[in-house]
Amino acid sequence: MELKIRKNGEVYIIDVNGEMDLYNSYKLKELVMKMLEKNVQSFIINLEQVDYIDSSGIGALIYICSTVKKMSLKLAITNIHGSVKKVIELTKLMGYFPITNSIEEALQQMEG
């Protein structure tokens, strides 16, 4: 799994590439925590290149979401598809996660 960071204005976009499984999901958690330490205020986690996620990956996303909520920061998770979307649906967390269908939508939400 690879993690790349880019910026769009004040918003940081994390592009996740590969599989988020029980062996590597902690990396995303660690990266976000590091960014929080650097006072990043708005995140978009882009899962367009992710085609596999298990409960560890979901757990990492939950941890990130709850932390961000506590700190009243902005977060969006975008471009979920295929089995990733199915897994999130199975856990019924579609409403819990701040999911948008595209990065554009997420950016619009963060401005408005």
Binding site: D21, L22, S56, S83, V87, L90, L93
Partner: protein
Amino acid sequence: MNPIKDLRADGSDPLFDKTNMLYKEFPSDFRQIRYFTLLIVQSAPLEIKEINLLEQQISEIIKNAVKHGNNCDLNKKVRVWYSFSSTHAHLIVEDEGQGFKDLEKWNDFNRKRLECLYQQDFEHLGSYVSFRTSKSDEQDGGNALFAALEYWNGGFVYNQKRNGVAMLKKYPQRRHGISIDGE
């Protein structure tokens, strides 16, 4: 509203019938969980794999057996019976552990979780997204069983000792569009 699904233990459930199932056993090696899963799911026809959803669901069950059932003890085995067709996936996974002691607690937790969901109460849902026991660690998602209860629509049941679980997934025939007869 769907009936609230519970985890139940019933060793006499027909899902534990092992006839005509393939069999493999593995040492409880945490590093090889995805490899073992692959060995099992490679026998499944492509159309039921849903890309990799079936693999992912099976890996959760094996992970539970390896990690929570056998404590990653290489000397302890995980035994898997499996059978696939284009319309079903049937699995039985047994470990050598003491069994899922917190089963009732899990059911309580899940009930509260589903209530929050039903009422769209996302604030409180935050406390019910991950099931943790004293034995859970940082990496545990605590979500595997929530998804499993939803996924294995033909039944998901533990044996009497709760160290074995049988599950069945039934797949609808793929068809295009929605039937309007009978509406």
